[in-house]
Amino acid sequence: MHIVDRRLNPGSKSFANRQRFLRRAKDMVEKAVREASKDRAIGDLESPGEISIPSEGTREPTFRHTQGSRRDLVLPGNKDYVEGDLIERPRGEGEGEGAGGQVGRGDGQEDAFRFILTRDEFLSIFLDDLELPDLAKRRVAQTEKEGLRRAGYTTTGTPANLALHRTLQTSLSRRIALKRPKQGAVDDLALRLEEALRLESPDVERLTAELEAMRTKRARISYLDPIDLRYRRFERFPKPVTQAVMFCLMDVSGSMTEHMKDLAKRFFMLLHVFLTRRYKRVEIVFIRHTDRAGEVDEETFFRSAETGGTMVSSALQEMLKVIRERYDPGVWNIYAAQASDGDNLSSDNPQTRELLQNQILPLCQYFAYVEVSGPNVETHGYVPHHGQSSLWLTYAALQKENEKFQMRRVSRREHIYSVFRQLFQRRATKTAEAS
């Protein structure tokens, strides 16, 4: 008998099957994930969760019988029946029980099929068709991003890179070209010479000379010559690096209620999850502002509170400053997302607009503005509500003029996802939607 311990074998053997299953049920899983994400907190987004999909698309049909006209049951546990007893049809079966049973079974199959998605699966499905738009500037960074790739053969190199096959090919062609005598021919001649010696034929001398010549030639033309050596050649090539920086701007002034801040935070956290997941080389800059603006770290950005007035232009100034200092627009793809309740010092509006239109937008790939409002404001997405905020009005004109600028409103938690998706949908789907 053998005992084999399989416990240390690589687990999740059925991973590939699971992938196939998810792919199969992709549309339904996607829909279910959207639904599920509505009632999930952002924090939960990172944890695995159960979803359920209708089992329609994952049905495995086989030929099955319906009940038929007659059924024979053999049951254990008779208590007081005798032959010929008539039993009332149990309730719930009754009329058309035959078909009923089958339909019942069928229904059971159509029941929602529930299973658990891991966090990665959930996020990758959730963020599947989102993308940073216009990731256009690709830049060659000298520092690290150089790759090696095969590029033919060379006559010099290290022994490790010796291309044996190619080397022997050259050697062979050289030997053929120079008519190097083969070992077989030499042996042949030697035999004939021996024969001639034995018979003391007159050919001995000629044969000896021939053999001598052959041997010399063989010695002179070596089997493998340094000239035959070929090495695999590698060449360095620059790998294009896509660099992007994302500016997150948020109003943290007193006019922002807790609810609004919560919305904004959720939006940015979603953005954060999305960016860190989707792009390996994305830097994120957090700028918060009241009437003054400052760059802060992530923790401060999301957690701490401030008081003061509101000057949006201050944040834009700060952003410009950071761009000038660290992110050369020629090298970096620049994105910005701004969240605000729409309040702004009215005297600041012209300046804000000026800044955005003439200085920031030309540098940016994309600028998204999300206006958060109280929970009882019914609208979200495009639809402007009655009291339009001053910032909204200021920006509205920009949106018309400039493709790079997009704005949305959001008033409820559950809308965050759809607004977020609208903003970062792949361009192709976006144009399709527009047309």
């Binding site: 005992i3 416990r7 099957n17 199969r24 030929f63 029946y81 008539l86």
Partner: protein, 507 residues
Amino acid sequence: MRGELLYEGKDWDFGTIQRIHDAVADIAHKELGLDTFPNQIEIITAEQMLDAYASTGMPLFYKHWSFGKRFAQHEGIYRMGLQGLAYEIVINADPCISYIMEENSATMQTLVIAHAAFGHNHFFKHNYQFRQWTDPEGILDYLSFAKAYISNCEERYGHAEVERLLDAAHALMPQGIDRYPRKRPLNLHMEEKREQDRKEERERVYDDLWRTVPGRARGSKQMAGDKRRALLGLPQENILYFLEKAAPRLKPWQREVLRIVRLIAQYFYPQQQTKVMNEGCATYCHYRLLGRLHETGQIGDGSFLEFLTSHTNATRQPFYDSPSYSGINPYALGFDMMRDIERIVREPTEEDRYWFPEIAGTGDEMEVLRNVWANYRDDSFIAQFLSPRLIRNWRLFHVVDDREQPHLEVSAIHNERGYRDLRRSLAAQYEVGGYAPDIQIVDVDLAGNRKLVLHHRVRDGKMLELTNASMVLGHLANLWGYEVLLQEIDSGTEQVLKEHMVRPEAG
């Protein structure tokens, strides 16, 4: 004789497993006369057990989304704690592979080893169904070939293409089974001998006079039809086989994939037909083996009680009116019947002598049981060996549900008049023909539009369930490449009850 305890407490290690195996093997081979394949015992985790569940219990299997679905299902159920996992999975291979879970206590491992590595193992090795249809030596190699082949196909022809094909093949899997051995092609030697015999026969009966007898008019239409069907091997109930051999539009790799699915279906076919016997055999064996281990003092009283708890749970049969009733438990029925045979062989009553004259009182129950295990399958086993005594113990009764009648009728109970009826009707429930629809390919319109014609013989008004049937037929039409017509024909009146016509999807 009092042996030493094999283990104490719950914990075990490989040494324990080895000792348990050897002790069980000793009793199994020497006292019970079991004859088994060599054993290979593999220890796995719960997750691996789930993995194995998902792919029909086999250690290596090709990839398909349906296994992923099954895994997700089982996992959900398991995580919610609705259902424990099976303690073991055993594979009909040579050597016989039993998976045991690391969570099991030492007693459970003993139970599992006795049950799977000896009970099932003996059954696999001897039952005629398994001997006829399975190749325990080759199965693992074949599965690994199948896995590699299908993953190659996926690389070469694309996942979508292979998935479509496998979906179709899986839908027809129950129709991919030979129920009777196919005529084997003769080998050359036999062929030669037959030819020789023919020649001799011709010479012996040669009479030149026959030449002058005017020949019959040949080539009637009927003959042509018969000949065509004979050439195609029709009627054919093994749809996958027919497609593999005769579907005009399949590519060679697609035929090979159909073949793989078909052969695997065939491999599992005996298991469907011997559920009661197989589990009965394994349960009876573990019961005897553990009982003996306890008698000889190799397992302690506590362990024995632990074993009895599991054993009685597994062989519990709730009555029909109990909320937990969900059909007849094959473990319970199998085990009780085996025990009953033991009783009949050892201490028969007058009744037993009348019902089972050939085994009653012969004294060696293992010999009788070994014979039973080798030569029966569920339906024949029940038809032969369900005793009146057991019928009374189980208080079996037979209810007829005729949809034309307003009431259900009790047609037999556990009394003198009812025994034969009950035995027959219970056996009928285990007949293959009872649960699998009888569908055959009967003809192909080769001259015309290559329409494939199938018949479903309807018994007792059991028509095909429509949604499923049309999906399966869609798959079938795609494989065949042309139209498919399925006629449902009443087997009594030969009337066509319903016709399904399906065209292949374009492309």
